[in-house]
C-alpha cells in the first residue's frame, strides 16, 4: 500500500497541521511515512506545499511530477500551481475560495477564479470543489479549512489510512479546548463529500 499526497495552500492556512495529521495516522496504521514541508520565509502569506508519502520502502520525501495520488488544496490558484504533481487518474480536492494576494490589489498580477476552475476540470479526471470558507464558518472558525478538507479527504475510497485515525491524529495536534470545533469541522468535511 502506497500513497503520495500533496497539500497546497497559502502560508498560515494550516497545511502543516494537515500534513502532520496524515503522517500521524500513517504511523498509527503501522506504515512508514515521509513528509516535506515549507517552513520559513514563505510562511508569510506565500505559497506553501507539503508532500506526504505513505507506504513501505520509501525513497525521498519529494513526490515526482505527475505522481501524486491526491492533491489537496486549501486555495484555488494554488491548486493550479501544483496540478503538475497529480498523476493521471489522481484526485483533486480543492477549496473554491480565492485568497487574493496583495500583488493583485496593487495591479501587479491577475487572479481569475473562473479560468482556474475550468483548467482544473480539464486537467483532472476527479476534481472536487469545496466551499471551505462557508464550511469553516459553519464549524465555528474561519481557520478550520484545513480540518474540513481532511474530513473530506478521509472519505476517499482506497486510502491506506482510516478516517478515524486521521481525526485522532488531528485531535492530538490541536489544543484540548479546540477538540469539539475540530471534530465538528472534520465531520462537516466528511458530509460535504456525500454530495459528490
Amino acid at each position: 500500500m502506497k500513497s503520495d499526497i500533496v497539500i497546497s495552500g497559502v502560508g498560515g492556512q494550516g497545511s502543516i497541521l494537515a500534513s502532520r495529521a496524515l503522517a500521524g495516522a500513517a504511523i498509527a496504521k503501522g506504515l512508514n511515512v515521509l513528509t516535506s514541508e515549507v517552513i520559513g520565509m514563505a510562511q508569510r502569506e506565500g505559497p506553501v506545499t507539503s508532500h506526504i508519502r505513505i507506504g513501505n520502502n520509501l525513497s525521498g520525501a519529494l513526490i515526482p511530477d505527475y505522481a501524486a495520488d491526491y492533491l489537496i488544496s486549501l486555495e484555488l490558484s494554488e491548486t493550479v500551481r501544483n496540478l503538475n504533481k497529480l498523476r493521471p487518474g489522481g484526485t483533486v480536492i480543492t477549496s473554491k475560495t480565492a485568497i487574493i494576494p496583495t500583488s493583485v490589489q496593487l495591479g501587479l498580477s491577475k487572479y481569475d477564479d473562473e479560468i482556474y476552475v475550468q483548467y482544473i476540470k480539464e486537467q483532472a479526471e476527479k476534481a472536487i470543489f469545496l466551499d471551505l470558507e462557508s464550511l469553516s464558518l459553519q464549524a465555528g472558525t474561519p481557520r478550520a479549512g484545513n480540518v474540513v478538507i481532511m474530513g473530506a479527504f478521509s472519505t476517499c475510497p482506497g486510502l491506506p489510512l482510516q478516517g478515524e485515525q486521521i481525526l485522532q491524529a488531528i485531535l492530538q495536534l490541536v489544543p484540548e479546548r479546540y477538540r469539539n470545533i475540530n471534530t465538528h469541522a472534520f465531520e462537516l468535511g466528511r458530509q460535504a463529500m456525500e454530495e459528490f
Partner: protein, 598 residues
C-alpha cells in the same frame, strides 16, 4: 523502542541527546532553528544546558569552551551562520577538542530562505574537518550520535550537514525508551596545547593534515557509505546525501540499472568503497547538489590510482551546480547519461497565476515603521539600507522601502560606507532587534567612533520573528531554562556613545514621523528604536472597517501599505478578517473613512 514522527531537526536533537550532549548553543536561522528548540525542550529532563547565543560565533565558542572540559557539546546554525563562526572554526581545527564537538550546519540549496547556496561540505574541506551528509531524518539522527564518537576518536570537531529537505522533512523513527547517562566530564585541565601560538600552529598543521588520511580510513568502514552492486551493468552512480533518494527513485521509474555508491561522508571521501565501485563499472556519474565536492575528490583519486573509467558530473555540465534537486531533475540527468532522450510531456500551458511573494503580516509594526521613514524622507534622496529578517520584505512593492540587503548587520556599516562618498545624502539603516545584538551593535560602535552621520532604525518587535520567534538579549527570557538578564537597547546605544536615541511606537504615525525627521537631521549617528511587539505574538485588537459611504477610493490605504488585511470588495477598498486592529490605515485615510468596528 517507540515510534515517533520526527522532523529532521528534531531527529538531530534526539541523536545528540542519545549521545549525551552536555552543552548546546545556537543562533536561529532557517532551516536549522528547530534543532536547538528541540534540545531546549529536552534539556530539563535529561540534565544538559542549552542557550540561544547572540550569534553563531558566540554559539560555537560556547560549545568549544564546554568541549575543553571533556563535555560533549553541539553548536547549530544555518550555512551563512558558519561564515560568522568561521574564525573559531578554522582555528579549532588546529587546536582540536576534548569532549566530542558536533557542529550542525544546515544548507539550503534552492535557496528557500537564504542569501546564498554555499556548500558547507566545501567549508569542511577548507577547514580540513570531516563532514557527514544525511539522506533522511532517520539517518540524520544516527549521524548526530556517531559524530560525537568520531569527534572524540579524531580529537577534531565534526560537521553534520543536513539540507532543507532533511531538516524540514518528517519521518517515522524508532527511538529508545531509555537514554543512558554519560559519566560527568573530567573538567578543564591546564595545558599549553590550548593556546594557539604560531609555533603550536606549525606543529598542529602537520597533525591536522595527517588526520585527513586517518579520517578517510575510518570513514571507509562507515555504514553511512553503502555500495549496491548491480552485476548486470557496468554503469556506476555515486550519489551524495539526499541525492541518493532521487537516484534510487529515478532508477525505479526509468527501469535503468546501475551500481550505486551512496556517500554519507563526503569529506574526506573514503577511498575504499570508491575503489571497490571502480572494479565493477566502466563509467561513473556523480550526483550531488551544490559543489562538486565528491566529484573532485573522485577524479583526483582515480587519477592517482591510474583508473581511466570516465567520470561524469558537474565538470562536463551534466549535473547542475545551482539549485535544489528532485526526482525529476535527477531522472533527466540519468537519462541523458544513458544517451536517452528525456520524455517530453505535452503540457497544457498554465493559466496566468497570481504572484504570491511572502509579505509582512497584517498589522506588522515594520510596515508602519517603513511608512514613517518614507514619509519623513519624502523629497530627499535618502538611501535606506536593509538587513536580514522579516523586514527584508519591506523591499517589495508597494513599500519599496529598502535599497540594499547583504548579510546580518551589514545595513549599519554599509550606510556608513555610503555616507563616506555621499556625505550630503541621508543614509538610514534598518535592522531588527535580534540582528542588532547579532552583529549590528559593532557597526553602531564603528559609526560612533568614526563619526558616521547616519540614522540607525532598530525595528524592535521583541523577538527573532522570521525564524519562529526565538528570544534574544533584549527580551531577558532565554527561552531555554528561564530568566536571563535583559539588555536594554536604548541604554546600550547611549553607552556606545550615541547622543540621539529615541524610542517610538510605530503605530503612532505622527510621533514616529517627527522622531524620524529629527533623527535624520541630527548631526552625528542617531538611533530610533521602533518598539512594538510582533503581531504574531499578541492578541488581535478590535478590527477596523471602511465606511463605504465616506470612502473616496483614493487608494491610499491599499497602495501605501500593502497590508494583506486590505483588499477590494465590489470595487472599493475593504478590510478583511486578517485585520489585527493596528489602526495604521485609519491614520493615513485622508477622509477618516476607516474606523474601528463597534
Amino acid at each position: 523502542m517507540v515510534i515517533k514522527l520526527l522532523m529532521g531537526n528534531e531527529a538531530i536533537a534526539h541523536g545528540a541527546v542519545e549521545a549525551g550532549v552536555k552543552v548546546a548553543a545556537a543562533y536561529p536561522g532557517t532551516p536549522s532553528s528547530e534543532i536547538l528548540e528541540t534540545l531546549a525542550a529536552m534539556a530539563g529532563e535529561h540534565g544538559f544546558y542549552t542557550e540561544w547565543s547572540v550569534n553563531e560565533k558566540a554559539a560555537l565558542e560556547t560549545a568549544i569552551g564546554a568541549s575543553f572540559t571533556g563535555a560533549r557539546s553541539l553548536a547549530a546554525m544555518k550555512q551563512v551562520g558558519l561564515n560568522v563562526a568561521a574564525d573559531p572554526l578554522m582555528s579549532l581545527a588546529y587546536i582540536g577538542i576534548k569532549g566530542g564537538l558536533v557542529l550542525v550546519v544546515a544548507d539550503d540549496p534552492g535557496p528557500h530562505s537564504s542569501q546564498t547556496e554555499q556548500d558547507t561540505r566545501k567549508f569542511a574541506q577548507f577547514a580540513k574537518l570531516p563532514v557527514l551528509d544525511p539522506a533522511n531524518p532517520a539517518e540524520a539522527r544516527e549521524m548526530a550520535k556517531y559524530a560525537f564518537e568520531l569527534s572524540e576518536q579524531l580529537l577534531l570537531p565534526v560537521i553534520l550537514r543536513p539540507t532543507t529537505r532533511t531538516c524540514h522533512a518528517c519521518q517515522d523513527i524508532d527511538l529508545p525508551e531509555d537514554i543512558r547517562k554519560n559519566p560527568p566530564p573530567a573538567g578543564f585541565e591546564k595545558d599549553p596545547n590550548w593556546v594557539i601560538f604560531p609555533s603550536l600552529s606549525a606543529r598542529k598543521h602537520i597533525w591536522l593534515n595527517k588526520q585527513q588520511e586517518r579520517t578517510g580510513n575510518i570513514l571507509g568502514l562507515s555504514p553511512f557509505n553503502r555500495l549496491e552492486i548491480d552485476g548486470d551493468t557496468r554503469v556506476g552512480i555515486v550519489a551524495c546525501g539526499l541525492s541518493y533518494n532521487y537516484v534510487r527513485e529515478a532508477l525505479q521509474l526509468t527501469g535503468l540499472r546501475a551500481s550505486v555508491l551512496k556517500v554519507g561522508t563526503p569529506y574526506p571521501l573514503p577511498a575504499a568503497p570508491v575503489m571497490e565501485l571502480f572494479k565493477h563499472v566502466d563509467r561513473i556519474l556523480v550526483i550531488e547538489e551544490q559543489e562538486p565536492v565528491v566529484e573532485d575528490q573522485l577524479i583526483s583519486l582515480a587519477w592517482q590510482q591510474g583508473l581511466t573509467a570516465p567520470i561524469s558530473g558537474k565538470h562536463d555540465r551534466l549535473v547542475a551546480r545551482e539549485g535544489e534537486f528532485d526526482v525529476d531533475k535527477v531522472k533527466a540527468i540519468i537519462e541523458k547519461f544513458y544517451g536517452l532522450q528525456p520524455e517530453s510531456g505535452q503540457e497544457t500551458p498554465l493559466p496566468e497565476l497570481p504572484l504570491r511573494p511572502p509579505v509582512l503580516c497584517a498589522g506588522c509594526p515594520h510596515r508602519a515603521s517603513f511608512y514613517i521613514f518614507k514619509e519623513a524622507a519624502r523629497g530627499t534622496e535618502a538611501v535606506f539600507t536593509g538587513d536580514i529578517g522579516c523586514y527584508t520584505l519591506g523591499a517589495i512593492p508597494p513599500l519599496n522601502a529598502l535599497d540594499t540587503c547583504l548579510c546580518m548587520g551589514a545595513g549599519v556599516t554599509m550606510a556608513a560606507g555610503l555616507h563616506r562618498v555621499e556625505p550630503g545624502r541621508k543614509q538610514v539603516a534598518f535592522l531588527g532587534d535580534s540582528t542588532f545584538f547579532h552583529s549590528g551593535v559593532t557597526g553602531l560602535i564603528n559609526a560612533v567612533y568614526n563619526r558616521a552621520d547616519i540614522t540607525v532604525v532598530i525595528l524592535d518587535n521583541r523577538t527573532t520573528a522570521m525564524t519562529g520567534h526565538q528570544p534574544h538579549p533584549g527580551i531577558g527570557n532565554t527561552g531555554t531554562d528561564g530568566q536571563g538578564t535583559t539588555v536594554d537597547i536604548a541604554g546600550l546605544a547611549r553607552a556606545c556613545g550615541v547622543d540621539f536615541v529615541r524610542e517610538v511606537d510605530p503605530y503612532d504615525l505622527t510621533a514616529g514621523i517627527k522622531a524620524a525627521g529629527e533623527a535624520m537631521n541630527h548631526n552625528g549617528p542617531a538611533v530610533v528604536i521602533m518598539k512594538r511587539e510582533c503581531t504574531a505574538l499578541v492578541e488581535k485588537d478590535r478590527p477596523y472597517t471602511i465606511d463605504r459611504k465616506d470612502c473616496i477610493d483614493c487608494g491610499a490605504c491599499v497602495e501605501n501599505l500593502g497590508c494583506p488585511a486590505i483588499g477590494r470588495q465590489d470595487g472599493l477598498p475593504a478590510i478583511n478578517a486578517n485585520c489585527t486592529g493596528c489602526g495604521v490605515c485609519a491614520q493615513i485615510c485622508p477622509v477618516q473613512a476607516i474606523r474601528r468596528k463597534l
